[in-house]
């Protein structure tokens, strides 16, 4: 008689222990994902559906906002998008190249003054870039670089290089030096051994670094906002237009936000493993 009661008694607490956990997970997912979903849904609605008294969850999606945003003359968002793609790719490649070289030196050589160099790189990664913005604006004005792609590529490379160098250094150090030496014994040059052995083994780290710096460049607002006006404007700026006034065209702003978020989210999800390893290695090492 006592046995079934005790079994039930044991089952009940485990079920009640599971329920709050499940509820917490659902709440966390809703908190993280609903706002993203909501702006995407808004971009697919008509004006009337957006301004309805109660939120509309079920409707026939329309791509009108995207058509207007990208292809109507004078919207300019298509050129913002292309500028963003070009500037992000160029600055990411430049960052990896420049930071990779530095990381190679820092990971493979012991020299006097290495400590100060590391501190210099770390400090420049931590100080607020906004403190540099006004003198840079004056400098770029002098050289006629305001509103050019080159200005943003240069700035983003400089902003991301300290972080990338720090991260790549830790990844290069993860590859045993003995492997490189073995390749050198087999007839590789020192640089050849580095490219063929260390670079290949540290490839996941290089991908992680590229993804994170690419994301930062893609999302950057401050410098783009201050340094561009017509020709080199990037996509994040398109989200700050159309603000103010009584009637906000939410479907158009939603479309712009979606165009900006979608590539970042897709790349991020695809490379989630690298991203997590990069973010943790970048701060804990």
């Amino acid at each position: 008689m006592a046995a079934p009661v005790s079994v039930q008694g044991r089952n009940l607490p485990s079920w009640t222990r599971g329920a709050p956990r499940a509820a917490a997970v659902v709440a966390l997912l809703a908190w993280s994902l609903f706002p993203i979903l909501w702006i995407v849904l808004t971009s697919l609605k008509t004006r009337l559906e957006i301004l309805a008294d109660e939120p509309v969850f079920w409707f026939t999606p329309t791509l009108d906002a995207y058509r207007r945003t990208l292809f109507s003359p004078g919207a300019g968002v298509l050129s913002d998008l292309l500028n963003s793609v070009g500037i992000t790719m160029a600055s990411t490649v430049a960052t990896i190249l420049v930071a990779g070289l530095a990381a190679y030196s820092l990971a493979r050589f012991a020299f006097r003054g290495k400590g100060p160099v590391l501190t210099f790189i770390l400090a420049s990664r931590l100080l607020p870039p906004i403190s540099a913005v006004i003198p840079l604006f004056l400098l770029f004005s002098t050289f006629g670089l305001i509103d050019t792609h080159a200005a943003l590529i240069l700035v983003y490379t400089a902003l991301n290089a300290p972080f990338a160098a720090w991260l790549l250094k830790s990844f290069f150090e993860g590859v045993p030096k003995e492997l490189e030496e073995a390749a050198e014994l087999d007839g590789c040059s020192a640089l050849g051994a580095f490219f063929r052995v260390t670079m290949r083994l540290a490839a996941p780290g290089i991908v992680a670094t590229g993804i994170i710096t690419g994301n930062m460049a893609w999302n950057e607002f401050l410098f783009a906002f201050m340094f561009t006006s017509v020709d080199a404007t990037t996509l994040p700026l398109a989200l700050a237009e159309l603000k103010g006034g009584e009637q906000i065209a939410w479907q158009d702003l939603g479309a712009r936000a979606t165009l900006l978020m979608l590539p970042a989210l897709t790349v991020g999800l695809w490379s989630q493993k690298y991203l997590v390893s990069g973010l943790t290695a970048g701060s804990l090492k």
Binding site: R21, L28, L29, S32, L33, P35, I36, W38, I39, T42, L51, E54, P55, V98, A99, L101, A102, S105, L106, F109, F111, V117, T119, F120, I121, L122, S124, L126, L127, P128, I130, S131, A132, V133, I134, P135, L154, V155, A158, L159, A161, P162, A165, W218, N219, F221, M226, P236, L239, A240, G244, A257, L260, M261, A264, Q272, V276, T280, S283, L284
Partner: protein, 302 residues
């Protein structure tokens, strides 16, 4: 005689100047130069320049810009906002991130990875997009938050139009966007925890609360410290999120120091006062950076 003459033929066969030059440039220096030049030219030099600009008026040494800025009520409000915002967001992010990490830590690896991927998404989104998203969510008439509050019988809040709700609106959207970073760092800290120590404590009769307070929390201290320092550093960069969400208002109640740099420079065309604000941010950043660098070197030495 032999030993002195022996090297002579060798030297004749090799181009001496090239050899000497090779020896003078150490191999570590060249690959390091581009990064150092880039950082020095585009980050450090401008920061030093801002420092110089902040104490010069018409080419003369003067602290009048400091007097002007420090006495300006707008600056005082921006400083107060930046500090309170930083404290509030970081407290909430640590709390939420810690809760989420504890929840995920006990799960099977596959479930944990899947959930981490989903919960990480807000962190990938541009701050400007996050500001826009929450401006839509918190809209007085069409926002889903007020609609949800209405469902449980709470009156609609004018989130973006009055000072205190606007402050919490900026806090909320920043917490939404950047908690995933804290989550990832804490999750990594929890994963690195030695399970045998925890087990031994439990075998010795420690309660769950005791294991948490005396073993887990101290072991997590480095991860918490890193999350804290980095998040503080990032909060000083606050610019576009309040810019798009509240426009820095109502009034200037949610204007951070970063936005003030822009206002002083572009609205009032005042290089000196804008530079003063830049320097204030620089000093705040340097204090935190110093703490972090000391922490890094202590970890390396340990």
């Amino acid at each position: 005689m032999m030993t002195v003459e022996a090297p002579a033929p060798d030297r004749l066969h090799e181009p001496p100047t090239q050899r000497r030059r090779m020896r003078r440039i150490p191999p570590w220096l060249l690959p390091l130069l581009p990064v150092l030049l880039l950082i020095a030219g585009l980050l450090i030099w401008p920061m030093v320049q801002a420092l110089v600009e902040s104490v010069s008026v018409d080419g003369q040494w003067s602290t009048s810009a400091y007097e002007q800025v420090l006495g300006d009520a707008v600056f005082q409000q921006a400083l107060r906002y930046t500090l309170v915002f930083t404290a509030a967001t970081i407290a909430l992010e640590l709390l939420l991130g810690f809760g989420a990490a504890s929840l995920l830590d006990g799960m099977r690896a596959r479930t944990r990875k899947l959930l981490t991927a989903a919960l990480m998404l807000p962190y990938l989104i541009a701050p400007v997009a996050a500001g826009l998203i929450w401006r839509l969510m918190l809209d007085y008439s069409i926002g889903t938050i007020n609609w949800g509050l209405g469902l449980v019988g709470i009156e609609a809040v004018n989130w973006l139009g009055s000072a205190s709700p606007a402050f919490w609106a900026t806090v909320l959207s920043e917490v939404w966007r950047s908690t995933p970073f804290v989550l990832i760092i804490l999750l990594a800290g929890m994963a690195a925890m030695p399970t045998d120590v925890l087990e031994a404590a439990r075998v010795d009769g420690a309660s769950r609360a005791q294991v948490f307070a005396f073993i887990k929390l101290p072991l997590l201290r480095p991860a918490i410290a890193v999350a804290l320092l980095f998040q503080t550093i990032f909060k000083l960069r606050l610019f576009e999120l309040p810019f798009i969400l509240t426009g820095g208002g109502p009034g200037n109640s949610t204007t951070p120091l970063g936005l003030l740099v822009h206002q002083y420079y572009f609205r009032y065309a005042n290089t000196a006062t804008a530079s003063v604000v830049s320097v204030v941010l620089l000093v705040l950043g340097a204090v935190i950076a110093f703490a972090y660098i000391r922490w890094v070197y202590r970890e390396v030495d340990a």
